[in-house]
């Protein structure tokens, strides 16, 4: 009896210690970023700031907000998040509704096409050639049009919509409703968990997106917050390296790192805001996919 008791305690102890470590390792980097964003830039360079701002300032946020480039990048990210999410939710749910109807002709062929595109693609270069010829390079639309149909969510949507009782749809049709009306008035209102999952997935993806800025956009006016962040991080690393070689004065970059940290904190903000919803729907959404698999 004594042996079992002590094993129990030991397991508890190990579990608490390891989970505590997981918690710290996961959260501290975010916390540190926020601390940096509230600390004076020159003071931070002296080192030794770990747990809270030593020389508290709102100056970094002021600099961030006053900088037209940062503001613009933020707005581009915001715009693509709103427009891109709306377009993807609309188009994907429309497509999967049609494919979920049992009487649809060529249903099997259509579905095969969707699954096929989920696993195979033409790769980066042919896609680039396509976008170039569609005139989508260097335009805002390159952020939102290529992601309008998400094959994975089309399949998820088909499963979700197929579970809606046929009688509900038939009743609306007998009343003379057109398909698009059946979709918007009957099907979508009862599919909120699906829509929420799709919208959240899309919004987070859009907000975090930066590769398409690197690939398809030259115009600095169209660069997203994440992309601009990347270029600034690279710049700061480069100046840090030349500084280490003693070529530049420190004053030059005294605040650029803290402003970078501010941008990072700002880019985390929307994610933190939707996190409670994410938790509810993402987990659910992941399960929809998992069960199917």
């Amino acid at each position: 009896m004594k042996r079992k008791f002590s094993e129990d305690m030991a397991v508890d102890l190990v579990v608490y210690i390891l989970l505590g470590l997981v918690g710290i390792v996961t959260l501290y980097p975010f916390y540190y970023t926020i601390v940096c964003s509230f600390n004076d830039g020159l003071d931070l360079m002296k080192g030794g700031v770990y747990l809270w701002p030593r020389k508290f300032t709102l100056g970094n946020y002021k600099l961030f907000l006053e900088d037209g480039d940062w503001r613009h990048a933020f707005l581009v990210s915001l715009a693509r998040t709103l427009v891109g999410t709306a377009m993807r939710v609309g188009f994907t749910s429309m497509f999967s509704y049609a494919l979920s109807r049992n009487n649809l002709m060529f249903k099997k062929g259509y579905r095969f096409l969707v699954v096929f595109t989920m696993y195979f693609s033409g790769g980066l270069i042919p896609f680039y050639v396509l976008l170039r010829n569609l005139g989508l390079l260097n335009s805002f639309w390159v952020y939102v049009i290529p992601g309008m149909v998400d094959a994975f969510f089309v399949m998820t949507g088909i499963n979700f919509f197929a579970a809606i009782p046929e009688s509900m749809i038939e009743a609306a049709k007998i009343d003379g409703a057109r398909e698009i009306k059946v979709l918007t008035r009957v099907v979508l209102p009862v599919s909120k968990p699906f829509l929420a999952t799709l919208a959240l997935f899309s919004a987070v993806g859009q907000w975090n997106s930066w590769l398409d800025s690197a690939y398809y956009v030259r115009d600095a006016k169209l660069h997203t917050l994440a992309y601009k962040m990347m270029t600034v991080i690279n710049q700061n690393i480069a100046t840090a390296n030349t500084e280490a070689a003693g070529q530049l004065s420190q004053a030059n970059t005294q605040t650029s790192f803290t402003v970078q940290a501010t941008a990072m904190a700002v880019s985390m903000l929307p994610i933190m805001c939707v996190y409670p919803f994410l938790q509810k729907y993402f987990v659910q959404g992941m399960m929809i996919g998992a069960v199917k698999e």
Partner: protein
């Protein structure tokens, strides 16, 4: 013959009756044909001398040159290095990013304090939702050799004499990349295993407990066998994307962001090389050929994983 004609006419009529539904479906189909299928035909430029200025028609009209670019890639002095880096990163990610979420899920499920459990679980998948750029920025703030907070602390405490160049040392790139991937995605993947654990019949634990099995033995004999199905499923699913980084799927973004001139010998992978050849140097045909080599390996892997899935669960992925 007559019957067939009648069938066709019937088919048309049926199609006409559901024309609205078909319009919705065909809009999506057209979209996929343009944005997914059309680029697949573009792959043929890997076998052609294609110039970007010749547009879409150029894809078909440019001159065939056979396997020239493939031979060029296979004989490229960097070929073995690129292949080694791609496979090493993918393998390391598979080896570490796969068991750690399982371990994390077990730890969380064994935690007896509900609020603590919830807190840790909620925190653990936060990194999954931020961009790699942010992770890149954070890793620089913490791990840079001179200015990184962790290095500074270790030097200050006298543990190190000089900061460790986690981000610039070619010998450390793989390790750093794998640790960051694990950091970013473990909590997310733990969700699936946690769900599987919560599905295990709790009477099994009670029975084992009465029979005198301690907690470790219960984990070993009940929890692990109970989630075997999920483990196999996740494993199979990650085979197809193996070369992209498997379930953490981050090879390209990581090498693109964290690769620099100093660690290039270990950070450059097939995909970043293709990107540089195509987008930066304008060698589109060559880049397509390089990319295609990886795609072909991936297709083989997808087919294998589909076969395995069919054998084990009786149902394929597609």
């Amino acid at each position: 013959m007559m019957k067939r004609k009648a069938d066709i006419r019937k088919g048309f009529r049926r199609f006409g009756r559901q024309i609205e539904l078909q319009a919705l479906a065909l809009a999506g189909v057209a979209y996929l044909l343009v944005f997914s299928i059309l680029p697949m035909f573009g792959i043929i430029i890997a076998f052609k001398a294609y110039k970007l200025t010749s547009g879409v028609q150029g894809i078909f009209s440019s001159e065939w040159i056979g396997l020239k670019y493939f031979t060029e890639f296979f004989t490229d002095y960097r070929f073995t290095e690129l292949l080694r880096n791609t496979i090493a990163l993918s393998t390391l990610k598979m080896v570490f990013a796969f068991p750690i979420p399982i371990l994390l899920a077990i730890l969380i499920s064994e935690c007896r304090s509900r609020p603590f459990k919830r807190l840790i679980q909620t925190a653990s998948y936060l990194p999954n939702f931020v961009s790699w750029v942010l992770v890149y920025g954070i890793s620089n703030a913490l791990l840079a050799q001179n200015s990184g907070a962790i290095n500074q602390l270790l030097v200050k405490l006298g543990i190190l004499e000089k900061g460790i160049p986690f981000l610039t040392d070619p010998g450390r790139f793989w390790g750093t990349a794998v640790v960051l991937s694990v950091w970013k995605s473990s909590g997310w993947w733990a969700i699936i295993f946690l769900a599987a654990i919560s599905g295990i019949d709790s009477t099994l634990y009670e029975a084992a407990s009465i029979d005198g099995a301690g907690r470790l033995r219960r984990i070993w004999h009940i929890t692990l066998p109970g989630i075997k199905g999920s483990i196999v499923t996740v494993l199979i699913l990650s085979i197809g994307s193996f070369l992209g980084g498997g379930m953490v799927g981050s090879n390209f973004e990581q090498s693109f962001l964290m690769g620099n001139t100093v660690n290039n010998a270990t950070s450059e992978i097939i995909q970043t090389y293709a990107f540089k050849m195509g987008m930066a140097q304008g060698r589109f045909s060559y880049a397509t050929a390089v990319d295609l080599v990886q795609s072909l390996i991936s297709i083989v892997l997808v087919i294998i994983s589909n076969r395995v899935a069919k054998k084990i669960s009786g149902e394929g992925l597609f």
